[in-house]
């Protein structure tokens, strides 16, 4: 337990030293602001670009509810650019320690592999969740100001559901980082796999049940309708299992010393 704290502490000092603790929340705050601001000015943009002739889009058609705007923040911003940023910021967690030999070195101390992986996951999840929350909160503020306000309890519930999907992104990228040695490959596999999961949401109910990205859909649903379907709980259990599986694979990979 003690070594877990030491490792988490080390991760935070490192994040502070390379300013991750500042730029990551800023990026997500920017992403969070984008959706409501662009949607607000969309009628003006359409008007300016569309001109007076030919097909015109009725500006009133683009009027939207606050809940829709926030849901779009998740679906169009966080699940796309945000997802890539998460994968890129996590891709080096274990790979860089493998490359520098620090992983082998740390494990010559009485440190359990579990403490090592948990230290990585907890610290990175914390900073990413903090960034996502900041971004989501900024989105909430802009949405309430520019559109209709959304019930705060729904926002919190939605953020909670979304955070499970974020946890999966972190543990999955950590696992890929444990197995592969090249940063490019790690980023590619993680981003493609996670985006693919997000894309196939809604294709088929059975796939949705197994899909960790389903959490994102439920989070959006919560914002729009204020509640989620019953299938949510099943999906929640399954995503927890996926998270455990990725952690166990990372653990197995390191204890079997396959990383050399």
């Amino acid at each position: 337990m003690n070594s877990l704290m030491v490792l988490i502490n080390k991760e935070f000092v490192q994040m502070k030293r390379d300013y991750k603790i500042i730029w990551l929340p800023l990026v997500f705050m920017f992403l969070g602001a984008t959706q409501p601001v662009v949607m607000y000015y969309l009628p003006a943009i359409l008007k300016a670009l569309g001109g007076g002739q030919g097909i015109t889009i009725d500006p009133s058609m683009t009027q939207q509810e606050g809940g829709h705007i926030m849901a779009a923040t998740l679906g169009s911003q966080f699940d796309q650019l945000g997802l890539m940023i998460i994968a890129v910021s996590v891709m080096g967690v274990i790979q860089s320690d493998k490359a520098s030999g620090m992983l082998a070195f740390i494990l010559t101390r009485p440190v359990s592999v579990g403490a090592y992986i948990w230290g990585k996951v907890i610290s990175n999840y914390f900073i990413i969740l903090l960034s996502v929350s900041c971004g989501f909160f900024v989105s909430y503020l802009y949405t309430s100001y520019l559109f209709s306000s959304v019930q705060f309890s729904c926002v919190l519930a939605s953020l909670f559901i979304y955070s499970v999907w974020v946890l999966f992104m972190v543990t999955f990228t950590t696992m890929i980082s444990t197995i592969f040695n090249s940063q490019g490959i790690i980023a590619l596999i993680s981003i493609v796999f996670l985006l693919f999961n997000r894309m196939i949401v809604g294709l088929h109910p059975v796939l949705d049940m197994l899909n960790p990205a389903g959490m994102s859909k439920y989070a959006m649903e919560f914002l729009i309708t204020g509640s989620a379907e019953n299938s949510f709980y099943g999906n929640l259990v399954i995503i927890m299992i996926w998270i455990l599986v990725t952690m166990v694979i990372s653990y197995y990979w390191i204890t079997q010393k396959k990383f050399h």
Binding site: Q14, M102, A104
Partner: protein, 302 residues
């Protein structure tokens, strides 16, 4: 505290790096693991430090598997790599805490250890600004910090310049008084200087396990070596006809005589030389082979 290595075998894809290696180490010993490049020294050391799993066999410290005894081991990798963004102080605090020491204890101990390895004044410098010698010394600092019963070092001085090498050797001399040390090297004079016992490896196998005095005694020459002025080299042919001279070897102006009974015959040889008015520069009986020669004989010869 006793370290036992029992029939350790480690294979990589096609190559067997260490094969059926066994040895024992008692408290207070300093053992040098010598061998040419690729002999399997680093692999063996990594297996002892539990960085690699042995395919067969086991490493026991005090009768327990090494993976349960990590607290008692200090390990210095061949190229100690630290987090470049940490300062020397932070590195030691980090490694020390991972070894299970409390922070209060470390705050008192770290300056002492840094002083010991000669890094006082560099506590707050980032590791990325350190030279190779300083990194090596920081590596030693982290290996001795938690006062382990046993320290393994992989080529502690091979990558250093003569000054750094000297500093680190002196440091190891110092540590050796308190702990058991196993170090690997391919530089014999280093091993000769700090270790009493040698284990020589070749192709992953142990080919010799002995002390330095034993090694030198066993390889004492029964020859007489003589250096003479070049003008008297024709005398050698005459000497070759002497009944008690078994063999003559000429290397430049140096001549080596192998005698039947050097104790009695060396003076007779000297007398003949004097009779022939040979210009003798040097005359030496019972010379020893250098450790390097012994090593080459062992490693190349087997």
């Amino acid at each position: 505290m006793k370290l036992e290595i029992r029939n350790v075998t480690k294979r990589f894809k096609q190559k067997t790096a260490v094969s059926e290696f066994s040895m024992e180490l008692e408290t207070g010993q300093c053992v040098g693991l010598i061998g040419p490049n690729g002999a399997g020294k680093s692999t063996l050391i990594k297996t002892i430090a539990d960085v690699l799993h042995a395919d067969e066999g086991e490493v026991l410290l005090d009768g327990q598997r090494i993976s349960n005894m990590k607290r008692e081991i200090g390990y210095l990798p061949q190229y100690p790599n630290f987090f470049p963004w940490m300062t020397a102080n932070e590195t030691l605090l980090f490694m020390g805490q991972l070894s299970g020491m409390s922070k209060q204890k470390l705050l008192a101990k770290v300056p002492v250890v840094l002083g010991k390895v000669g890094l006082t004044g560099e506590e707050n410098a980032k590791v990325q600004t350190f030279s190779g010698g300083m990194r090596q010394r920081l590596g030693i600092a982290q290996a001795i910090l938690h006062a382990p019963a046993f320290i393994v070092m992989d080529e502690p001085v091979s990558a250093l310049d003569p000054i750094g090498r000297r500093e680190v050797l002196n440091l190891i001399q110092e540590i050796k008084k308190e702990t058991t040390i196993l170090l690997s090297t391919h530089i014999l004079s280093d091993a000769e200087e700090i270790c009493e016992r040698f284990v020589i490896m070749k192709n992953g196998k142990k080919i010799e396990d002995t002390t330095i005095t034993e090694l030198l005694r066993r390889n004492t020459r029964v020859s007489v070596s003589m250096e003479i002025a070049p003008k008297d080299l024709q005398w050698i042919q005459l000497a070759g006809e002497l009944p008690y001279v078994k063999k003559i070897e000429v290397k430049g102006s140096k001549v080596e005589f192998t005698l039947e009974n050097p104790q009695q015959q060396k003076n007779m040889l000297l007398k003949t030389a004097l009779n022939h008015d040979v210009d003798i520069v040097r005359f030496e009986a019972g010379g020893r082979e250098t450790l390097e020669e012994i090593f080459l004989n062992l490693v190349v010869g087997v």
